[in-house]
Amino acid sequence: MGSTLAEAASLLAHLDPEVLAIVWLSFQVSLSAVLLGALVGLPLGAWIAVAEFPGRAAVTVLLNGMMGVPPVVLGVIVYLGLSRSGPLGHLGLLYTPTAMVIAQTLLVAPLIAALARQTVEDAWRDYRTELTALGFNRRQAVGTLLYDCRYSLVVAVLAGVGRAMSEVGAVMIVGGNIDGFTRVMTTAIALETAKGDLPLSIALGLVLISVVITLNALAYGLRQWAMRRYG
């Protein structure tokens, strides 16, 4: 066990090219997915929070339910869509990083939207009278509430980062875990552990944990700063 840990530490200390390539691809895929998920999820969640339409409660329940969709199920759905006989098969995206981004975007967008809806809905309850008296329409209210809740919404986006970086099922199915092309931290850990190559698994696991803790520390610091600055 001691030698395994020492080997893992050595891989990290020497900036092993294989480890770096896997980490770099993981960041590219997951952060792209979170960026796209936030671009869709934040305005969608805020819109549902302030809009009044028939079936709003059902949409809210559906959105909340989608937060818990198993990545592997979503991976299968995206696989069916991108496979050669699927509706998007002609694009030839299966087993590419783009397919992984699509799968992870579909995974994190509902999560970000559901968390944004809750945050913005609470703010809307407080601001509704005042913004209405100022003449704001719903679209203007959405923009203003997203801006006002920006520091709380960082948590929603971070939750998206956490979900994207830590999931393995969806990227395994649509990416195929191809060495040097679609292999990311989680799929590499699963594969290398199965093969018995524990040092690489542990090294990647340490990177993954460090990333999650660092992001949470940054979010905590940002919120503390915002509370002091803006109240």
């Binding site: 704001f136 006002d148 109240g231």
Partner: protein, 239 residues
């Protein structure tokens, strides 16, 4: 826009009577103070003029036309301020008007200067004191250059010094050409500020007269008792 005629307004949310056939005519000048006991319908009256509530019966006629929403502003007892600077909060009401950003900030700077908050323009609005917050809320309303300014107990939570500052701003806004309509429980404030008084009780206007006459020769028994601080028809203590 003026005169505004409120005709036989009824408002009964959840079966509870708040307004019961309220009639009132407002001209376009001066400061009108709306007074009356708690639950009389004062705030609801202002909210209806702001378009925040709809009457169950009756109508509001804006000199024959429709309510010009962009010329009406309202300030509440506890104004909500966004988590941003004082200057951005002052410019908030200009967003729906679609003014260019530079013009909005010029106007916001102008009103902040007039309410004595120009030196705090880049501070966080949520770090202001209660009196400063209310001055900022007035600046935000003033920036839209309202023709009708509605104030719902704007000084209820303020100390005398902050109240005096707010009253001075309200007078300036009136001088600037806005009709001001305000609710208060402070009869001293009503005497200081009002050009005319609307006394409401039980969801109806019991008296509407010039301020001096209202306080020296109230016409209704309810108004006389209210001015003397006697409200026997409302209070029922348990044995």
């Amino acid at each position: 826009m003026f005169p505004i005629r409120l005709e036989r307004l009824d408002f009964t949310p959840d079966g509870r009577t708040v307004l019961a056939g309220l009639d009132l005519t407002l001209d376009g000048e001066g400061i009108t103070l709306v007074i009356g006991p708690n639950g009389a319908g004062k705030s609801v009256l202002l909210r209806m003029l702001a378009g925040l509530e709809r009457p169950d019966a009756g109508r509001i006629a804006w000199n024959g036309g429709k309510a010009p929403a962009e010329r009406i502003a309202m300030v509440f007892q506890h104004p909500l301020l966004l988590r941003t600077t004082v200057a951005n909060n002052a410019a908030l009401g200009l967003k729906p008007l679609g003014l260019p950003r530079a013009e909005a900030h010029r106007r916001a700077g102008e009103v902040l200067d007039r309410v004595g908050l120009a030196h705090r323009a880049q501070d966080s609005a949520r770090h202001l004191s209660g009196g400063e917050r209310q001055r900022l809320a007035l600046a935000r309303a003033w920036a839209v250059r309202p023709r009708l300014l509605l104030l719902d107990e704007p000084t209820a939570a303020l100390d005398p010094t902050a109240t005096e500052a707010v009253e001075a701003i309200i007078r300036e806004i009136r001088t600037d050409g806005a009709k001001v309509m305000m609710t208060t429980h402070n009869l001293g404030q009503a005497m200081r500020l009002a050009d005319d008084i609307v006394f409401i009780d039980g969801g109806r206007v019991r008296e509407h007269s010039p301020s001096a006459r209202f306080f020296s020769r109230p016409q209704s028994q309810e108004a006389r008792l209210f001015i003397r601080g006697e409200l026997p028809w409302r209070i029922a203590f348990p044995d």
